[in-house]
Symmetry: C2
Subunit: 113 residues, 2 copies
């Protein structure tokens, strides 16, 4: 298994000042948007090679494989990079709640319009 | 019409070093994710009050109301803020292609897994 992100993918990424791209997590069969997380090259490499979604936590400054603590894992079904390389759309099979508050989506209850 | 973003909303935003939050754009009736853009407080205020989506362009460093040049406008149907305030999910009615490359979604053709 490769230990670095494929060069062809890495060169397409447009990272922010912190070296991160945004990762939209979408339930693969219902198209519900569950959450948005952040990935550096290594988090993306792990996500592409392990079949489970790994993020970089901006608040805790550490890697975070979704579900390792909560059991609410995300099985990777597809990964797409957008046209300008600063966002990923990741289709997953989500177990249980995606949100740490216990709701299915991190956007549930957050309507402002 | 208010000239500043409502204080109650503004205090919930967790902005990055550039003062931005991520905005996921989703076709409201099909749930297709069309693109991801960036918003500062003013772009969000305009989006909430004008019924059209306005972004902050990180590359051009200017406001950008989607469709003003291309005609591919986004009519705002809903806006939700996530649990930790660093991402918006915006339901829209998209006219034509969301992507500047001419594809419906900025993720079309970008599959890496």
């Amino acid at each position: 298994m490769d230990e670095t992100l494929e060069a062809e993918i890495a060169k397409r990424l447009k990272r922010d000042e912190a070296g991160l791209v945004a990762a939209i997590i979408q339930q693969h069969d219902t198209a519900e948007v569950l959450m948005l997380g952040w990935m550096d090259d290594e988090a993306l490499r792990r996500t592409l090679t392990q079949g489970r979604v790994t993020f970089w936590s901006r608040s805790r400054q550490e890697y975070w494989r979704k579900g390792d603590t909560s059991g609410h894992i995300q099985i990777v079904k597809s990964v797409a990079l957008d046209c300008d390389g600063d966002a990923l759309l990741i289709g997953v099979a989500q177990t249980g709640a995606a949100c740490h508050t216990g709701t299915r989506s991190c956007f549930d209850g957050g309507l402002i319009l």
